[in-house]
């Protein structure tokens, strides 16, 4: 029972990643693409936690911790590049 609910949740997360890919292609400016990249990163953190449940190894959570630590550096460096103050 719980497994079926988690599989539905994984399908919804994949749909969310695909929808933000649409925004990446139909963007008006560079900022739109960066926002889509940010949403994709956050959704894939949740997807990694679900994959660790499906594989039965809780040690896969460490990959999500690395993402949570390092994913915001890219967005910050792009913001400084856009502000011309790097």
């Amino acid at each position: 029972m719980a497994n079926i609910i988690l599989q539905i949740a994984g399908g919804i997360m994949l749909l969310s990643i695909v929808l933000s890919t649409f925004r990446f292609f139909k963007a008006g400016s560079l900022v739109d693409r960066v926002v889509a990249f940010d949403v994709m990163t956050v959704a894939s953190i949740s997807l990694i936690a679900l994959i660790s449940h499906f594989a039965g190894r809780t040690i896969y959570i460490d990959v999500a911790i690395i993402y949570g630590l390092l994913s915001f550096l890219g967005v910050i460096i792009i913001a400084r590049y856009l502000e011309k103050s790097l």
Binding site: A49, T58, A79, E83
Partner: protein, 119 residues
């Protein structure tokens, strides 16, 4: 034990629904700033809820999950705030229905004060 697992799975499902709402808002919102707002708020809440559900199911890794929740809660709003400031600075076009822009008012006021002092 089974009822706890079902509760955790339902919380994860709620979080994934919030992630889906965030990306639907990313497609339907009219300009850049509203897209930044919906993309940050909804997706941060969705990630927090889904990680919380996984932490309820596997209770022995709850420490790692708590650490991850704190990291995301700190870093994600900071990065999107810097992105919004950069978008305001390079002059991205706002939507027609925008009424209040407090950063622009603040900078105009600062400029007026500086010219008044120099006179």
């Amino acid at each position: 034990m089974e009822i706890i697992k079902i509760i955790g799975a339902l919380i994860t499902l709620l979080g994934s629904v919030f992630l889906l709402l965030g990306s639907i808002g990313l497609i339907r919102m009219p300009d850049v700033f509203t897209r930044i707002q919906t993309g940050t708020k909804a997706s941060t809440l969705g990630t927090l809820l889904s990680l919380l559900g996984i932490g309820i199911i596997y209770f022995d890794i709850a420490g790692k999950i708590f650490l991850l929740i704190v990291f995301i809660l700190i870093t994600n709003p900071v990065s999107s705030h810097m992105l919004a400031r950069a978008a305001h600075y390079i002059g991205v076009k706002k939507a027609d229905v925008t009424v209040v822009d407090e950063l622009e008012d603040f900078e105009n006021e600062k400029l007026n004060n500086k010219t008044k002092i120099s006179e």
